[in-house]
Subunit: 455 residues, 2 copies
């Protein structure tokens, strides 16, 4: 069968007297004696249906999925709804077919009643029917499309990097994947494409980007997810200002196209030490009363922070961040004073991105690993291939932006869960599919692993 | 420092007498007594540099990375190269800085010498410098951009689905990820977003797409990869023809924009039985002498194929494929004769995509699981949430296209490895990063797993 000639957001007075077919969800039924009014819903909008009970007698309820044939007519005076594009018309139904009868609902859909977080996540496919749940996902799609177009127009090449890969040193735990073919060995899911994007610069791709899935096995804090999405960027033969200008242009384009807001660039640059002194924060919220969005760059970070527990320096960003050239001489005698060529992008008091000019000299990279007390043997084992590759590296740098966070802020949502179609809960569980779950002994055997007995 | 005013593919006679800065790789050095000619290379092209040995004496070799300042001038008559856009000019170098000295190369870069596959993969970042290696990756990017624009313009919403998820029944082994937070339990990496895209239809997204990473733990055949990329599509309230028209429009757009080839649509439809009879193949190669690309749809597949070993039916596509309505009555007495609402897209004798109208009735889905001898308990455990969700499902269907394969065919490459930036070898190893690799006892302990002792 043909299900529809039009969507539920499309019909207006232009279509008067036309015969149409519509399919969608019953958003509400209002019974007026011999006549029933139905709001039929799909992604595109609502259309009012008028049903004569004498000719069409089916029992109809909220969330039933139906397909109808009918004729577009004007709404009687006084019943026009100016709030929706289809508010001046209604469809007089001649024929109706129920495509799916909705027998039971765990909660009311598209009404404004409070539903528990767990129930919403278990029935996420019903929760997403709610306009306020669906819209942020569509907004996210639009945000991504604007970003991709900007990057493409600026000569960046979108390149996919591996997800089954090797541990990268980003400071969190890796998710591991046991290899069946190479028993006893494991892939790691990437915490970021950091190393691969540096390798792409060594290849000469010059300008790389990717909207990349990243993974961190953290004890989940308030608003983190085990998998998240970042806009990953790397460029060759550039300085800090080149990255910053690119990102300012991107944000300007994005906020204008999506929110019709003109951002002022350049964004303020705040020196890390000043930020800490003046705002007691390295992600200051610079909003003033009239401004909804306040960006700034925080720059001139120290390269290291002292780790009291481990009696060693830790990288403030990551171990591939370049020291400022004028501070290279301090690397030996006063590492704590060495400044980094790093920059964070802050929006409304939230860090939404960070990047740096990278080390492109093998010697300096080795020295940094020494200072971080990563032993030569360990460094060679974990990053040997990168150290080797750096012998062939051009000057390069980049940035990564947290797209879940950016989408949440732009759509005025508190949590990144609201802009993720199928988020996990705070215990890293997917309540909808019940992942993670038990697997069969046969599978474990094939992978050459065993569960440890609890003690 | 500022590294460049122009790229190496940009300068022409329009720039004569301009002072410029360029940065890039030395592609070749030709020594002519007092003068050295260098071809400087970047992603954008080659520019000829002229160096007076009296003023610039540095030792210069292939693949050194340099930055130069100089003046654009005409090449002397007889030395013009019409094959490249920069072939009429050269840059007279005034200043030169070596940014990275290339001391040793495991193989010659950008020359046409044969290099072993293993060595190429280990030094993939150098292999990618070769124009013939880099170009397919850039072509892939362009192909993806055209596809995304087409999908966006046609009202499809790009939605990310989880990578840490639950086992899906696609017929291959899942990669498993042990959960640290939920010890003894495992995520599975998706073999496809199949279930999630059906859930999105149940939510009412109407038109979904994603360029999705998928994972299959197979014993690798000739040209498979553990992770691969597919264009994943799903639509509601549609029939087979709607999907087929959409994809024909996409292919037409893609081949015209990328290859300047006008495809004829609609593509021929070949009935599965006819294809097997006439071509002895369900992916016939319909190329005739003058045609470089021949598409066809193979349709009217049986729903099941008999599995002799297991004494049961297996799904010909996957267990969510809808039977033809007129065959529903045969489901009990003659399942082998039931036809499926499935369709494969074939290009030059290769299956590049497959899809179907899905089952959207819980009852039919339960019946199919019975016929596949998936026990009720097992079905509930593995797909209970989907069976539950189907109670709320509109009619829907979709398709998935193998983008690695499509990119390989369009770029005239034999192997999908040539269109993947960092492919794995036939043993599922990444020779560059040495993944998969050993992990520490501490990590295994945290994950609650042990390696099995080899017997």
């Amino acid at each position: 069968m043909d299900y529809r000639t039009n969507t539920c957001g499309e019909l207006t007075e232009k279509h008067l007297n036309k015969k149409v077919k519509l399919s969608g969800w019953i958003n509400s039924v209002r019974d007026h004696g011999k006549i029933r009014f139905i709001d039929l819903r799909d992604r595109y909008g609502l259309t009012q249906l008028v049903i004569n009970k004498e000719s069409i007698q089916e029992n109809l309820n909220d969330e039933d999925i139906i397909s109808i044939e009918g004729e577009v007519s004007s709404r009687p005076k006084g019943t026009v709804n100016d709030k929706i594009p289809t508010g001046k018309i209604e469809v007089k139904v001649k024929k109706l077919e129920i495509l799916q009868k909705c027998s039971f609902l765990p909660f009311e859909v598209n009404k404004d009643k409070e539903v528990s977080e767990d129930l919403k996540l278990k029935y996420r496919y019903l929760d997403l029917r709610k306009t306020s749940s669906m819209k942020p996902i569509i907004d996210r799609h639009e945000i991504f499309a604007i970003i991709r177009n900007y990057m493409n127009e600026n000569g960046f090449i979108d390149i996919e990097t591996p997800i089954l890969t090797k541990s990268t040193p980003e400071g969190a735990r890796d998710y591991l994947v046991p290899s069946r073919v190479n028993k006893g060995k494991f892939y790691a899911l990437p915490q970021s494409p950091q190393i691969f994007k540096q390798l792409l610069m060594i290849s000469g791709f010059d300008k790389y980007y990717q909207i990349a899935r990243c993974f961190r096995d953290e004890d989940l804090r308030a608003d983190r997810q085990p998998e998240f999405t970042q806009l990953d960027i790397e460029m060759s033969f550039i300085n800090e200002e080149d990255i910053q200008e690119l990102i300012e242009g991107l944000m300007k384009d994005l906020f204008e196209k999506k929110l019709n807001i003109k951002l002022k660039t350049p964004f303020p640059r705040i020196i890390y030490n000043e930020a800490m002194k003046k705002y007691k924060s390295d992600k200051p919220d610079l909003r003033t009363e009239k401004e909804k969005f306040a960006f700034c760059w925080v720059v001139d970070f120290p390269l290291f922070e002292w780790n009291q527990d481990e009696n060693r320096y830790d990288p403030m960003h990551h171990p591939f961040t370049s020291p400022k050239p004028e501070d290279l001489k301090n690397l030996d005698k006063n590492p704590g004073n060495v400044m980094a060529r790093a920059y964070d992008l802050v929006l409304n008091g939230t860090e939404i991105g960070g990047g740096s000019i990278r080390i492109h000299e093998q010697k300096t990279q080795n020295r940094i690993f020494e200072l971080l007390k990563i032993e030569k043997k360990e460094a060679d084992k974990r990053f040997g291939f990168l150290l080797e590759a750096l012998k062939y590296a051009p000057p390069h740098g980049g940035i990564a932006l947290g797209l879940d966070r950016i989408a949440a802020i732009m759509t005025n949502n508190e949590s990144i869960r609201d802009v993720i179609a199928f988020p996990k809960n705070k215990a890293a569980k997917d309540l909808l599919t019940d992942a993670p779950s038990d697997v069969e002994e046969k599978q474990l055997k094939e992978l050459g692993i065993d569960l440890r007995k609890a003690k």
